[in-house]
C-alpha cells in the first residue's frame, strides 16, 4: 500500500520535473524559432536553463514586503499542482482524483498568487499589468469555457482521465468536434499570452507588467512557473482534443504504451506550441479592449457553433461516446 503510494508519488514527481524541463526547453526553442522567423540569430535553445540557474543562484534578492513572497510560492506550487491533475502522455497522475472543473480552478491558484505578489510590489505598472491579465482572462475564458462545455456535454464526463478513455474508444475531440477545437486554439493563444495577446506583459508599454519588480530567485521561480504553464496549457489542449497523445492502449501494451504515448504527447504539445509561437512571431499586439471585443465576438461565435454541434449530436442524435 505505502510502497504503491511512494511509487506513485515518485512517478508524479518525475513527470512534473520533466514537464518543467520541457517547458524551459520550449521557451528556448520559441526564442530561437521567433528569431529565425524575424531573420535574427537568436540565443541557443538551452539559454533558458542558464537563465533560471543564474537567477536562482543570485546572492542579492530584493523584496518589498512579505506579501511579495506569495508570488513565487503560490505560482510554482500552483502550476505544479495543476500539472499533477493533468494526464500526460496517457499517464493519469492525479486526474482520477479530480475533474476538469477542479483543474480549472487549480489553474487559478498560481495566477492569483502571482497577481498578489505583483500587486504587492507597489509598482503601478504591475497593477496595470495584472488588470490587463485579468481582463484578458475574462476575454479568452468565454470561448474556452464554451468549448469545455461542448466537450463535457458530448463525452458526458467532466473527468479528464475518462475523457481520454472515451476519446481513445470513440474518436478524438478534434475529429468529433472540430469547430470547438478551432475555438479552443484561438483561446489558447490568449491563455498563453502570446501575440497578439501579450498585452499584460507588453514590455514596451508597461515594462513587462506584473513581472516588473521581480528579480533573482523570485524571477527564477516565476520562470519555472512560466515553463510549467506552457506545458500545462498545451497539454490541456492535447488532452482535450488530441486524445492526450494516447495511441497505444496501456491496458494491452503496458510500459511500452506509456513510452510511446509520452513521445506522441511530446510531439503534439510541440506542434501546438509551435503554432502559438509562429503566430506570435508575426503578429503585432492588440489593445486590451480590442482583445476583449475580439474574443467575445469571433471565437465565442465559433465556440457557440461548436457547442450547438455537440448539443445536437449528443441530445438530438443520441451519439454516446
Amino acid at each position: 500500500m505505502i510502497v504503491d503510494w511512494l511509487i506513485q508519488a515518485g512517478l508524479v514527481a518525475l513527470y512534473l520535473f520533466l514537464a518543467v524541463v520541457i517547458g524551459l526547453l520550449f521557451m528556448g526553442i520559441a526564442r530561437k524559432v521567433t528569431a529565425r522567423v524575424q531573420n535574427r540569430v537568436g540565443p541557443p535553445v538551452y539559454q533558458n536553463f542558464l537563465d533560471v540557474g543564474k537567477l536562482l543562484a543570485k546572492k542579492t534578492n530584493i523584496k518589498h514586503n512579505w506579501i511579495f513572497d506569495f508570488a513565487p510560492l503560490f505560482a510554482l506550487a500552483g502550476v505544479l499542482l495543476a500539472l499533477a491533475y493533468l494526464p500526460m502522455g496517457g499517464y493519469k497522475m492525479l486526474s482520477g482524483e479530480g475533474d476538469l472543473i477542479l483543474l480549472l480552478y487549480i489553474m487559478a491558484i498560481p495566477a492569483l498568487g502571482f497577481a498578489l505578489g505583483a500587486g504587492a510590489s507597489a509598482n503601478p505598472n504591475a497593477g496595470v499589468g495584472v488588470m490587463r491579465a485579468l481582463m484578458l482572462m475574462l476575454s479568452y475564458e468565454m470561448p474556452f469555457l464554451l468549448v469545455l462545455l461542448a466537450l463535457m456535454i458530448f463525452y458526458n464526463t467532466a473527468s479528464l482521465s475518462t475523457l481520454l478513455e472515451k476519446q481513445m474508444s470513440f474518436a478524438w475531440g478534434i475529429v468529433a468536434l472540430p469547430i470547438s477545437a478551432l475555438a479552443a486554439d484561438l483561446a489558447l493563444q490568449g491563455m498563453m499570452m502570446e501575440k497578439p495577446f501579450d498585452i499584460p506583459i507588453a514590455p514596451h508599454e508597461i515594462a513587462s507588467g506584473p513581472l516588473v519588480e521581480f528579480g533573482g530567485k523570485y524571477l527564477g521561480m516565476l520562470m519555472l512557473y512560466s515553463a510549467g504553464s506552457i506545458v500545462l496549457e498545451t497539454t490541456l489542449f492535447v488532452d482535450l482534443f488530441l486524445g492526450g497523445g494516447v495511441v497505444l492502449n496501456p491496458a494491452h501494451y503496458g510500459i511500452i504504451a506509456y513510452v510511446v504515448n509520452y513521445l506522441v504527447w511530446f510531439v503534439f504539445i510541440f506542434i501546438v506550441w509551435m503554432i502559438a509561437v509562429l503566430i506570435n512571431a508575426v503578429f503585432p499586439r492588440f489593445r486590451i479592449e480590442q482583445a476583449f471585443k475580439f474574443y467575445w465576438k469571433w471565437p465565442t461565435v465559433i465556440a457557440i457553433l461548436g457547442l450547438i454541434q455537440a448539443y445536437i449530436m449528443s441530445v438530438f442524435m443520441g451519439v454516446v461516446p
Binding site: 518589498h64 513572497d69 482524483e97 479530480g98 475533474d99 480552478y105 497577481a115 507597489a122 456535454i153 479592449e289
Partner: protein, 605 residues
C-alpha cells in the same frame, strides 16, 4: 424539550436580550453577544433533538425544529455572533439601538426558520424585515426607504401565495397544503408568488435594486444582512418548492430533462443574476457597493441550484448559501475593519493597507478565495456542485453564464485585494494600525468553517444530505473527503496532500536564498524620491472593460423603477383633484353616492 423551551430559547430569549441591550449603552453589543451565545449553545446541544411543537399566543404558532432549521440556524447564529463581536469594538453610535435591532432581526430569522405555518412565517418575516429597515435607517433614510418598499413588496408577494393556499385549504399549516385540494394551476401562481417574494431577499434580478443601497449601511449589520438574513430567502424558496409543494407538484408542470418547467426559468434567472451581478460588481469603486453586487451575483448561483432541483443542485445551493454566509460576512467585516481604521470606503482612496493590517488582509484573502471558488476553501466545492449539476443535465445556457460569472469574480476580487491591501501605501495611512482584537476574532471565526469544510467536506455534506433526505429528496453522493456527480468528482484529501507537498517544494526552493527588504520608493525613483507620490494604479481600475461595456451599462433596472414610479405618482396627483376643497362638490358627491348605493342595492335585492 417542550414547546415553551424551544420558543423560549430561540424567540423569547433574543427578545429579552433585545430589550435589555437597549439600555446597555457602550456594552450593548456584549450583552447581545451573550444572548446570542446562549442560543448558540442550545443550538449545539439540541442537535438531533428534533421535533414539532405548538405555541399559543392567541394565534397558534406551529414550530418545528428539524435538521433544515438547524442547518440554517447554524449559519445565522454564527454570522450574527461574529457581527456582534465585531460591533463590540466598532464604536457605533447608539450601540444600544443597534444591538436591540440586531437581536430583533435575529428573532425574526429564528422564527422564520422554525415556523411551519404561514401565519408565523409571515409574522416573523415582517419582524425581521422592519428591524432591518430601522437598522438601515440609522445610516440613511432614503436607502432604508428603498429597502422597506422592496421588503414590503416581498411580504406582499408571499401573502399572495399564502392567500391562494388558504383559499383552497382554509389552513395555515404547511403540511395541509399538500392534501391534494390545490389544483396544479393554482400551484403555479402560489410558487411564483412565493419564489418572487423570497427572491427579493436574495436580491434576484430584477428585484435587486434595494441591495446596493442597503448594503452601504454599517458593516457589522450588513455582514449579518448579507451573510445571515439573505439566507432566509434561500430557506423560503427551498421550503416552498421542495417541502410545501414538493417534487411531485413541481414535476406536474412538465419537465425538461428531469428539471421542472417551473424551476427552470428561475434557474435561468439565477444564472442571469449571477452574471449581471458580477459584471456590475467589477465596475464599482465603492467597496460596499462592490460587495453588494457580488452578493447579488453569488446568491444568483444559489438560485440556480434551487431552480434546478436535482439533489446535486440543491445540495450545491445549500452549501453555497452556507459558504456565502461565511465568506461574504467576512468580507463585509474586513471592509468594515478597513473603513473603521481609515474612514474611507472608496477602493481607489486606499491601498497598501495589507502591510499595516496583515491579519485583516489574510482573513479577507481567505474569504476572497472562498468567493472566487479557489479549492483551498469550501467555496469551491459548492460551486463545483452547482456547475456539475447544470452540466450533467446539459443546460447550455445556464452553465456558461455561471462559469463566466465566476471568472468575472476573479476580476472584482482582485480589485478588492489590490485596491485596498496591495499597491502603494498612502502617506495618510502610514500610521494605520491593525484592527482591534474583537474584530480579528470575529473574522477568524468566520474563516474557520471555510477552511475546515474544504479539508473535510464530508461533515457538512452529511448535514446537507440529512436536510435533503428530510425533505424527501434523493441523497447526494459523497464520502468523508470526496464528492461525486454523475460525470465527475474530486477528492479533497488528495488535493490537500498534493498542495501541501508541492507548496513545500516551492518553499524549499524559495528559502535557499535570503531576500532583503527594499522600500519601493527607493527602488522606483532610484533613491531620488519626491516625498509623497501614490504608487497606486487603482483609480478607475477596469476602465478598458467599462468602456467596452458602456453601451450595455446605460440600461439600468434602477432607472426603470424610477420611471415606473414617477408614472404612478403623476397619476396620484391627478386623482387628488377629486378632493376639490369645494363643499358644493362634496355635497354633490353625497347625492351621487346615494343614487349609486340605491341602484346597487335595488339590483342586489
Amino acid at each position: 424539550m417542550d414547546a415553551l423551551t424551544l420558543f423560549g430559547i430561540f424567540i423569547l430569549l433574543p427578545l429579552v436580550g433585545a430589550l435589555l441591550s437597549y439600555f446597555g449603552r457602550k456594552y450593548a453589543p456584549i450583552i447581545a453577544l451573550i444572548f446570542v451565545a446562549i442560543t448558540g449553545i442550545f443550538l449545539y446541544v439540541w442537535y438531533g433533538n428534533f421535533g414539532s411543537y405548538t405555541v399559543d399566543i392567541g394565534v397558534k404558532l406551529n414550530l418545528t425544529f428539524d435538521i433544515t432549521t438547524w442547518f440554517f440556524m447554524l449559519m445565522i447564529n454564527t454570522v450574527i455572533f461574529s457581527s456582534l463581536l465585531f460591533a463590540v469594538s466598532a464604536d457605533l453610535k447608539n450601540a444600544g439601538g443597534f444591538s436591540t435591532l440586531m437581536l430583533l432581526g435575529f428573532t425574526g430569522a429564528n422564527g422564520v426558520l422554525l415556523s411551519r405555518d404561514f401565519l408565523s412565517l409571515y409574522l416573523f418575516w415582517e419582524l425581521m424585515s422592519w428591524s432591518v429597515y430601522v437598522l438601515i435607517l440609522r445610516t440613511s433614510g432614503e436607502y432604508a426607504r428603498r429597502y422597506l418598499l422592496f421588503g414590503v413588496l416581498s411580504a406582499y408577494f408571499i401573502i399572495m401565495g399564502i392567500g391562494i393556499i388558504y383559499y383552497y385549504t382554509g389552513s395555515f399549516l404547511y403540511e395541509d397544503a399538500l392534501s391534494g385540494v390545490i389544483p396544479y394551476y393554482a400551484w403555479a401562481w402560489i410558487l411564483v408568488f412565493l419564489i418572487l417574494g423570497f427572491g427579493v431577499k436574495m436580491a434576484i434580478i430584477p428585484l435587486h435594486v434595494w441591495a446596493p443601497y442597503a448594503y452601504s449601511s454599517e458593516q457589522p449589520f450588513v455582514s449579518f444582512l448579507s451573510g445571515g438574513l439573505s439566507k432566509l430567502g434561500t430557506f423560503g424558496i427551498y421550503m416552498s418548492m421542495y417541502s410545501i409543494a414538493g417534487v411531485g407538484i413541481l414535476d406536474s408542470f412538465g419537465t425538461f430533462r428531469g428539471v421542472s418547467l417551473l424551476g427552470y426559468p428561475f434557474a435561468l434567472l439565477g444564472a442571469i443574476t449571477a452574471f449581471v451581478g458580477t459584471i456590475l460588481a467589477i465596475f464599482q469603486d465603492d467597496i460596499r457597493k462592490l460587495l453588494a453586487y457580488s452578493s447579488i451575483g453569488q446568491l444568483g448561483y444559489v438560485m440556480v441550484g434551487l431552480g434546478l432541483g436535482t439533489s446535486l443542485a440543491l445540495g450545491g445551493a445549500l452549501f453555497h448559501a452556507f459558504n456565502h454566509a461565511f465568506f461574504k460576512s467576512l468580507l463585509f467585516l474586513g471592509a468594515g475593519a478597513v473603513i473603521y481604521r481609515t474612514g474611507k470606503y472608496k477602493i481607489s482612496e486606499m491601498g497598501g493597507l495589507g502591510y499595516r493590517m496583515p491579519f485583516t488582509f489574510l482573513f479577507v484573502l481567505f474569504a476572497i478565495f472562498g468567493l472566487a471558488g479557489i479549492p483551498l476553501t469550501s467555496g469551491f466545492i459548492s460551486k463545483w456542485m452547482l456547475y456539475e449539476a447544470a452540466i450533467e443535465k446539459k443546460f447550455v445556457i445556464i452553465a456558461p453564464l455561471m462559469l463566466i460569472a465566476s471568472v468575472g469574480a476573479f476580476l472584482y476580487s482582485y480589485r478588492i485585494l489590490y485596491g485596498i491591501f496591495l499597491g502603494g501605501l498612502k502617506e495618510e495611512h502610514k500610521k494605520v494600525k491593525e484592527a482591534p482584537a474583537p474584530m480579528l476574532a470575529a473574522m477568524f471565526i468566520l474563516m474557520l468553517p471555510l477552511l475546515i469544510f474544504s479539508i473535510v467536506p464530508g461533515w457538512i455534506l452529511g448535514w446537507i444530505n440529512d436536510v435533503l433526505t428530510n425533505t424527501g429528496l434523493k441523497p447526494i453522493d459523497y464520502t468523508q473527503f470526496t464528492y461525486y456527480s454523475s460525470i465527475g468528482g474530486a477528492n479533497m484529501a488528495t488535493f490537500w496532500i498534493a498542495f501541501m507537498v508541492l507548496f513545500f517544494v516551492a518553499v524549499a526552493i524559495f528559502i535557499m536564498k535570503r531576500a532583503r527588504v527594499v522600500n519601493q520608493y527607493d527602488n522606483y525613483f532610484a533613491g531620488e524620491a519626491p516625498s509623497s507620490v501614490a504608487l497606486h494604479a487603482a483609480h478607475n481600475y477596469y476602465k478598458p472593460l467599462k468602456d467596452t461595456w458602456a453601451p450595455m451599462l446605460k440600461y439600468s433596472v434602477d432607472r426603470a423603477y424610477e420611471k415606473f414610479s414617477k408614472f404612478f405618482v403623476d397619476g396620484f396627483y391627478e386623482i387628488k383633484k377629486i378632493y376639490t376643497g369645494n363643499p358644493q362638490d362634496y355635497a354633490a358627491y353625497l347625492g351621487i353616492a346615494f343614487l349609486i348605493f340605491l341602484i346597487i342595492g335595488w339590483w342586489l335585492l
